[in-house]
Amino acid sequence: EAGVAQSPRYKIIEKRQSVAFWCNPISGHATLYWYQQILGQGPKLLIQFQNNGVVDDSQLPKDRFSAERLKGVDSTLKIQPAKLEDSAVYLCASSTLGRRGQFFGPGTRLTVL
């Protein structure tokens, strides 16, 4: 089966600019996650979707970050405006009920200058 797809793979922007990331989960996976991974740390959950509903967005900085999964399949994560501390890898993962573990995409490496 095809894995989790993400684009772009790399993005360089200046602070205060906006950026969007796209994720297409494994076919049939109802649950989709967005993580932020800063160098040297573990992934930090930003938001979790079950189909097109939000399960957990408690760690999403809602003043600048937004995410949607309108049709319950692919998802976008947006940052507006970006700050220097947003430089990180943004990982998308998906999972399905009854199947253990999350399956991660290759990530988008964001550099904010």
């Binding site: 573990g42 990982l91 991660f104």
Partner: protein, 110 residues
């Protein structure tokens, strides 16, 4: 909120030596998962432990879940250069979604 601590942060071994990483949670977990992330790569799911005292093996890897369901360990016997990477534990409880530790970076010299 829930915290997951891992030690050591880093370990450098000679090929053939054993390696162990330990994971501790501030709360009782419903399950614990282990992931491996190669340099420049993304986390890859290894295993999930659910039962108190559970022990599972995958070839040279042995995973344990503590009796109190608050700690776990991963032991690699006779490391190989292909074992290089960062190993993350991630815990889930009834009150929180999956929380990752900071990981243990393993370097294996031939």
């Amino acid at each position: 909120g829930q915290q997951v601590m891992q030690i050591p942060q880093y370990q450098h071994v000679q090929e053939g030596e054993d390696f162990t990483t330990y994971c501790n949670s501030s709360t009782t977990l419903s399950n614990i998962q282990w992931y491996k992330q190669r340099p420049g790569g993304h986390p890859v799911f290894l295993i999930q432990l659910v039962k108190s005292g559970e022990v599972k093996k995958q070839k040279r890897l042995t995973f344990q879940f503590g009796e109190a369901k608050k700690n776990s360990s991963l032991h690699i016997t006779a490391t190989q250069t292909t074992d290089v990477g960062t190993y993350f534990c991630a815990g889930e409880s009834g009150y929180s979604t999956l929380t990752f530790g900071k990981g243990t970076m393993l370097l294996v010299s031939p």
